[in-house]
């Protein structure tokens, strides 16, 4: 099977190159050529092992405490949502997943939404999904409606999992291509309470390379990092401790 290809060849006159550059229009000849169609072999996923339980496990609404122990209340700890994720920011199975682009909190309802949506869409024979976050553990308290200030800390209302930017929430793998999973992963990512996107290993590698290129080829000598570290314009006067840590990159 032959496919038509347009091969562009540039006409050059080696004798009077200088004059041609100045005056005449360089010739460009178009030669139509036929080539043999190449059907490359499809990718093999023989190295991928599908676990026994391919679907996402059920996550508890409330963490388990030994009987007799009162569920402890906790500080808000917004720092658990701020800044970049230093640990769980890569794909274990090196295939596909959902990455958080901003900080936030995942409630049990979000977990259920993800579990059911992904469970419905994957083919359990050849695909699997795993959680990359803990089930809700951080207690959030609420006071009753119309309650006045004071009277102690409110009662535990529900539990959440704090998420930092760059965290992998869920991973999907198996004998499948990115095009198959991208659709439903993106749908799920849109429903999360923070900015999130469907990723694959290739996307992450590409992004890393681009980030390196951007850092290297930035023509602006005065980056936020430089400005903050050198206290240009007295900016350290209004910088927060988080700015000293994240240097303007994260909120």
């Amino acid at each position: 099977m032959n496919i038509q290809k347009l091969v562009l060849t540039k006409g050059s006159s080696p004798l009077f190159e200088f004059s041609t550059k100045l005056l005449s229009v360089p010739a460009v000849s178009v030669l139509q050529s036929c080539g043999m169609k190449h059907f490359p072999a499809p990718p093999t996923y023989d190295h991928v092992e599908i676990p026994e339980r391919p679907k996402l496990r059920f996550v508890d609404k409330v963490p388990y405490y030994a009987p007799g122990i009162k569920a402890p209340k906790m500080q808000k700890k917004l720092r658990l949502m701020r800044g970049p994720e230093p640990v769980h920011n890569f794909l274990i199975h090196k295939q596909y997943g959902i990455m958080a682009l901003g900080g936030g909190r995942l409630k049990w309802q979000h977990f259920e939404m993800m579990r059911l949506a992904i469970g419905r869409k994957i083919d359990p024979q050849r695909m699997f999904a795993v959680w990359r976050v803990d089930s809700p553990w951080q207690p959030l308290t609420r006071k009753g409606q119309g309650q006045r200030m004071g009277g102690g800390k409110g009662a535990i209302d529900h539990y959440v999992t704090p998420i930092k930017a760059g965290r992998i929430i869920v991973e999907v793998g198996g004998k499948c291509e990115y095009k198959e999973v991208e659709g439903f992963l993106r749908d799920v990512a849109m429903k999360l309470p923070f900015q999130a996107m469907a990723v694959s290993q290739e996307i992450m590698d590409k992004e890393k390379k681009e980030e390196e290129w951007r850092e290297k080829n930035n023509q602006n000598y005065y980056t936020m990092k430089y400005v903050m570290q050198n206290n240009l314009g007295g900016c350290q006067r209004w910088m927060s401790p988080f700015d000293f840590k994240f240097l303007g990159k994260y909120l």
Binding site: N2, K5, L6, V7, L8, K10, P26, V28, S33, C34, G35, M36, H38, F39, L78, M81, R82, G102, G103, G104, P193, F194, R214, N217, N218, Q219, N220, Y222, T223, M224, Y226, V227, G233, C235, W238, S240, P241, F242, G248, L251
Partner: protein, 243 residues
């Protein structure tokens, strides 16, 4: 001394470092709009890059990029076809190269059938496949006239007569050159070879030419005897008819 102490105490001493607590409660989902100073700093520290097109000439910018056309680096199927073609080149004793002008599919099929009947195979290959097959071999000159629509006929027997007989029926197939017994021959040489009879006849003719001197001599020596014999035979016939 008491006065000095009082003087020191009278001077107010302000510490250089003052502890200040930072109220860092932010809403990560709905971030506060930036303070003007910070916004100015953010805008000034925005990164910018050199335009990759800045050093390119107008020709490079306006013409279609050639590097975007993907050449097949490794096509296993094409390799197989090339190998097959190479085998045909080695095994066929007569290979004819044609330029094919436009002809109907019906005509093409008829040509195919006619060649098959003469025990020849008509084949069309792409230039790239041919290149893969004949590059760095003795058949490399074939690539020189492989321009435009080309067709090859492979014959296990070096039968030029049959080839030309079939070719005559299809004027759209223009014979360019041939390979006869592993040697390149032009169209004129093909015609010459066509006129030559087969090997045995040629050998017989050679033998005759070699013996020509002796045969003429014997003929001349026996001429008188032969004429006498023929005349007597005629006379015998006449007499028998007369009876």
């Amino acid at each position: 001394m008491a006065l000095a102490v009082r003087g020191i105490l009278r001077e107010r001493f302000y510490p250089v470092v003052q502890a200040k607590r930072f109220r860092g409660k932010i809403n990560i989902q709905r971030p506060k709009p930036l303070h003007f100073d910070r916004a100015v700093f953010t805008e000034l520290t925005k990164p910018w890059y050199l335009n990759p097109k800045r050093l390119k000439t107008p020709i490079e910018l306006c013409s279609k990029p050639t590097d975007k056309i993907i050449e097949d680096v490794d096509n296993p199927y094409q390799k197989i076809i090339a190998r097959e073609l190479r085998e045909r080149f080695d095994q066929s004793r007569l290979i004819a190269f044609y330029h094919r002008n436009s002809m109907n599919s019906d005509q093409q099929y008829k040509a195919y059938v006619a060649f098959i009947k003469a025990k020849m195979h008509i084949k069309t290959y792409g230039k790239k496949t041919l290149e893969m097959a004949v590059k760095d071999t003795k058949f490399e000159p074939v690539l020189d006239f492989y321009v435009s629509q080309n067709v090859m006929v492979f014959s296990p027997e070096p039968d030029i007569k049959q080839l030309l007989k079939v070719t005559k029926k299809f004027p759209q197939m223009v014979l360019l050159a041939a390979i006869f017994e592993g040697k390149f021959i032009s169209k004129d040489e093909v015609m010459e070879l066509h006129l030559i009879p087969n090997l045995q006849t040629a050998q017989a003719a050679l033998v005759q030419t070699l013996n020509s001197a002796t045969t003429t001599l014997t003929q001349q020596l026996n001429s008188h005897q032969n004429t006498l014999v023929s005349n007597l035979q005629e006379r015998v016939k006449q007499l028998e008819e007369h009876k």
